[in-house]
C-alpha cells in the first residue's frame, strides 16, 4: 500500500505520461518539423515498464496507458503543446547559438525528447527527474542504437539487458552518464547545497535551466530553495532559468482547473500562490534574479496584442494543420500558462532573450 505522500508523488510522476501523450499527438498531426521520431520510442518504453513502477500492477498500468494514449487530443491541446514546446526550443537554440559551449539542465524533463536534439560535443545536457522516470528514459536510450549514438554512450550495460520483471526493473541504476549527457534520478525537492547531483553539473559553463510544469508541483518554499541553490551554485557563471507553469489568474477558469486537477489528485502548489504573470515576475525579483521577463502562452501564440513568437509563414502552416473551432477558449486556456525567464547575478547576460516579445519585464 502506498502512503498518502507516495500516492501524491505517483500522480505527479504520471503527469509525465500526459505530457508525452500530448507530444505524441502533436507530432502525429504534423506540428513538429522535422517529425520527431524519438517520441514514439519513449512511448514504447513506458508501455513496457510502467507496470514495474511504484503503485502499478500489470492491469492498472495498461489501463493508465490506454487512458493517456487512446483518445484523440483536441486541436486546442495539440496547438498548446506545440506553442509550449517550440517557444522553449527557440530559446534553447538561441542560447546555444550565443554561447557556443554551454550546458542545458532540464529539471523534471521526464520523457521529453528535446535532449536528443540539442546534446552535442559543445552542449552538455543534463536531466534530473524522479528515479523511476529517469530509469524509463535510460532504458529507452540503452535499448536504441540511434539514441545511444546521440548521447555517445560507450558503456556495456545495454548488452543482453532485458528487463521483464519488477525485480529486474528495481535493480536498474537510474543514472546514466556519458561525456556530454547525464540523466540523474533524484527528487528535486530534496536538493541542498551539498547534494551529490551537483557534482555532475559543470559550474563553469553558461547554463540554461529548464523547468516545464515541474516547479508548480513544489511548494513556494521549495521553489525558493531550488532556484537559490542553482543561482548560487553557478556563482559568477551565467545561469539562465526558464519556467513554464500554470497560473490560476484567480478567475472562474482557474478555480475550475484546480478543481478538475484535484479530482485526479493533482495539487498545483504555486497555482494560487503566484496566480498572475505579475506575481510570477515579482517572485523572481525577490529571489534576486535579474533581467526577468514573463509572458503567457496566449501571447506567444499570437492571440493577444503583443504578437506571436513565430513568423507569419509558421503561423500560417500551423493554422492549416487543424481546424480551430473556438478562439475564446484558446485564449482562456493558454492565458493560464506563463513562460518566465530570469538569470543569476552573473556579469554575463543572455542578450538574445530580448529578441522575443514579452508581456512584462523587470531589471
Amino acid at each position: 500500500m502506498l502512503s498518502p505522500n507516495q500516492k501524491k508523488d505517483k500522480v505527479i510522476r504520471s503527469t509525465d505520461l500526459d505530457a508525452l501523450a500530448c507530444r505524441l499527438s502533436c507530432a502525429q498531426q504534423g506540428y513538429f518539423l522535422p517529425m520527431d521520431n524519438n517520441i514514439s520510442k519513449l512511448v514504447a518504453s513506458y508501455s513496457k515498464y510502467l507496470q514495474f513502477c511504484e503503485g502499478y500492477t500489470n492491469l492498472s498500468a495498461s489501463r493508465t496507458f490506454r487512458m493517456a494514449f487512446n483518445d484523440r487530443k483536441f486541436p486546442i491541446i495539440n496547438r498548446g503543446t506545440y506553442l509550449r514546446t517550440q517557444s522553449i526550443s527557440q530559446i534553447v537554440e538561441e542560447f546555444i547559438k550565443e554561447f557556443g559551449t554551454c550546458q542545458i539542465l532540464s529539471l523534471g524533463g521526464g520523457s521529453d525528447t528535446r535532449c536528443f536534439k540539442y546534446v552535442s560535443p559543445n552542449v552538455k545536457y543534463l536531466e534530473i527527474d524522479f528515479p523511476e522516470t529517469a530509469k524509463i528514459k535510460k532504458l529507452t536510450i540503452l535499448g536504441d542504437n540511434g539514441l545511444r549514438a546521440i548521447v555517445k554512450y560507450e558503456g556495456e550495460e545495454h548488452i543482453g539487458l532485458d528487463v521483464t520483471t519488477r525485480d529486474q526493473f528495481n535493480d536498474i541504476e537510474p543514472d546514466l552518464h556519458t561525456s556530454n549527457y547525464h540523466i540523474i534520478g533524484y527528487d528535486l525537492r530534496k536538493l541542498t547545497h551539498s547534494s551529490e547531483v551537483l557534482q555532475f553539473v559543470d559550474s563553469s559553463l553558461p547554463t540554461l535551466v529548464l523547468s516545464e510544469c515541474v516547479l508548480c508541483y513544489a511548494s513556494p518554499q521549495e521553489n525558493e530553495n531550488i532556484i537559490n541553490i542553482w543561482s548560487n551554485y553557478f556563482g559568477s557563471t551565467l545561469m539562465s532559468l526558464i519556467v513554464y507553469d500554470p497560473i490560476s489568474l484567480k478567475d472562474a477558469f482557474g478555480a475550475q482547473m484546480a478543481d478538475n486537477l484535484q479530482r485526479r489528485g493533482i495539487n498545483l502548489l504555486t497555482f494560487n500562490a503566484f496566480a498572475t504573470v505579475e506575481s510570477k515576475l515579482e517572485f523572481f525579483h525577490q529571489l534576486g534574479l535579474k533581467n526577468s521577463k514573463v509572458t503567457d502562452i496566449s501571447s506567444v501564440g499570437g492571440y493577444e496584442s503583443t504578437g506571436a513568437w513565430f513568423d507569419e509563414e509558421e503561423v500560417k502552416r500551423i493554422s492549416k494543420l487543424e481546424i480551430i473551432d473556438e478562439v475564446e477558449e484558446i485564449k482562456l486556456l493558454f492565458s493560464h500558462y506563463c513562460l518566465l525567464y530570469g538569470e543569476n547575478q552573473s556579469s554575463r547576460s543572455f542578450r538574445a532573450i530580448n529578441n522575443w516579445r514579452w508581456k512584462l519585464e523587470s531589471d
Partner: protein, 307 residues
C-alpha cells in the same frame, strides 16, 4: 415503432436508444425540416438558446430555467454536438422534441453540425463508442444538411437569428433564402460565413482567427440591420463567461448556453426570452452537478490540461 414520448423520457435518463429508432427519428425530422425555409419566420414569445455542445445535463437545466417544451417555444442556434460527452443524447432529445412539437421548437445549423467538424471534435467518436458502428453518426449528419440557416422573429423590426454572424456576400436576408443549404457546410462563401463569423471591434470586414468566416464590426451590423429592418441580431458561436453579451448599442447579442463549457471553462450560461413586445429577458443558469445519472457506458470525463 418509434414512441416519441417514450424516447424523450429515455434520452433524458441518458439511456441508449436503439439504432433503428434513431434512424426512424432522423427520417421523420428530415420530412419536417425539408419543408422549412433557410430563414424560418417565427412568432413571439420565444426563448433563444446558444451552443449546447453535448452537455445533456445542462440542457435539462436549460429547460428547467426557460420552461419545458412545448409550453415554452424554443429556438436553438446550433452547435448541439461535439466537445461534451453526450452529444448524441442532446441531439436526439432536441430532434425528438422537434418531431413531437414541430411548431414549438426550431433548430438551426451551427458550424459543428458537419461531417468534417464532428470527426475532429468528438461526435463521431462518441457514436462509434456507444454503438460500435458509425451508422448513427451517418443518420445524424443527414439531418444536419436539412437544418435551417437562420430565423427571423417577430417580422419587420424583429430579431434576426443565426449561429455565427454576417457575411460580406449577404446584404439582404432574401439572399440567404436562395442558398442551396442541403449540403455539407462549404469552406467559404455565404453559407460558411453565416455559421462561422464573429462580431468584433473592427472598422470593417476582417480576417477571422478561426480560419473560416469573417470578423464584422458595428458598421456592418448597422448597415445590415437598416437594410433588412432588424432591431437585434441574436447569435451564439462564441464562449461568453457571463452567459450573454450585448454589443454595438445592444443591436447584437451573443447567447451562450453551455455552462462550464467542456467541463473546464468555469463560465455561466443563459437563454434569451423574447416577449411579444420584443422585450429581452436573459435567464442565466449554472452547470449541472448531476453527471452521474447515466446508464450508458460513457467515457470517464478526462479533462485535458498541460501538466
Amino acid at each position: 415503432m418509434l414512441n416519441l414520448d417514450d424516447t424523450i423520457e429515455r434520452v433524458k435518463e441518458c439511456k441508449l436508444i436503439p439504432e433503428r429508432d434513431v434512424e426512424e427519428l432522423c427520417n421523420k425530422i428530415i420530412e419536417i425540416l425539408i419543408e422549412e425555409g433557410n430563414v424560418q419566420a417565427l412568432d413571439t414569445p420565444i426563448t433563444i438558446c446558444g451552443d449546447i455542445h453535448g452537455q445533456l445535463h445542462d440542457l435539462l437545466t436549460l429547460f428547467k430555467t426557460g420552461g419545458e417544451c412545448p409550453s415554452t417555444q424554443y429556438l436553438f442556434l446550433g452547435d448541439f454536438v461535439d466537445r461534451g460527452f453526450y452529444s448524441l443524447e442532446s441531439f436526439l432529445l432536441l430532434m425528438a422534441l422537434k418531431v413531437r412539437y414541430p411548431d414549438r421548437i426550431t433548430l438551426i445549423r451551427g458550424n459543428h453540425e458537419t461531417r468534417q467538424i464532428t470527426t475532429v471534435y468528438g461526435f463521431y467518436d462518441e457514436c462509434l463508442r456507444k454503438y460500435g458502428s458509425v451508422n448513427v453518426w451517418r443518420y445524424c449528419c443527414e439531418v444536419f444538411d436539412y437544418l435551417s440557416l437562420g430565423a427571423m422573429i417577430g417580422g419587420q423590426d424583429g430579431v434576426f437569428c443565426v449561429h455565427g454572424g454576417l457575411s460580406p456576400m449577404i446584404d439582404q436576408i432574401d439572399q440567404i433564402r436562395v442558398i442551396n443549404r442541403k449540403q455539407e457546410v462549404p469552406h467559404e462563401g455565404a453559407m460558411c460565413d453565416l455559421l462561422w463569423s464573429d462580431p468584433e471591434d473592427v472598422p470593417s470586414w476582417s480576417i477571422s482567427p478561426r480560419g473560416a468566416g469573417f470578423l464584422f464590426g458595428y458598421n456592418e451590423v448597422k448597415k445590415f440591420s437598416h437594410t433588412n429592418g432588424v432591431s437585434l441580431i441574436a447569435r451564439a458561436h462564441q464562449l461568453v463567461m457571463e452567459g450573454y453579451k450585448e454589443m454595438f448599442d445592444k443591436r447584437l447579442v451573443t447567447v451562450w448556453s453551455a455552462p462550464n463549457y467542456c467541463y473546464r471553462c468555469g463560465n455561466i450560461a443563459s437563454v434569451l426570452a423574447i416577449d411579444n413586445a420584443l422585450g429581452r429577458q436573459y435567464k442565466v443558469f449554472e452547470a449541472s452537478t448531476n453527471q452521474e445519472i447515466s446508464s450508458i457506458p460513457s467515457k470517464k470525463p478526462t479533462i485535458d490540461y498541460f501538466i
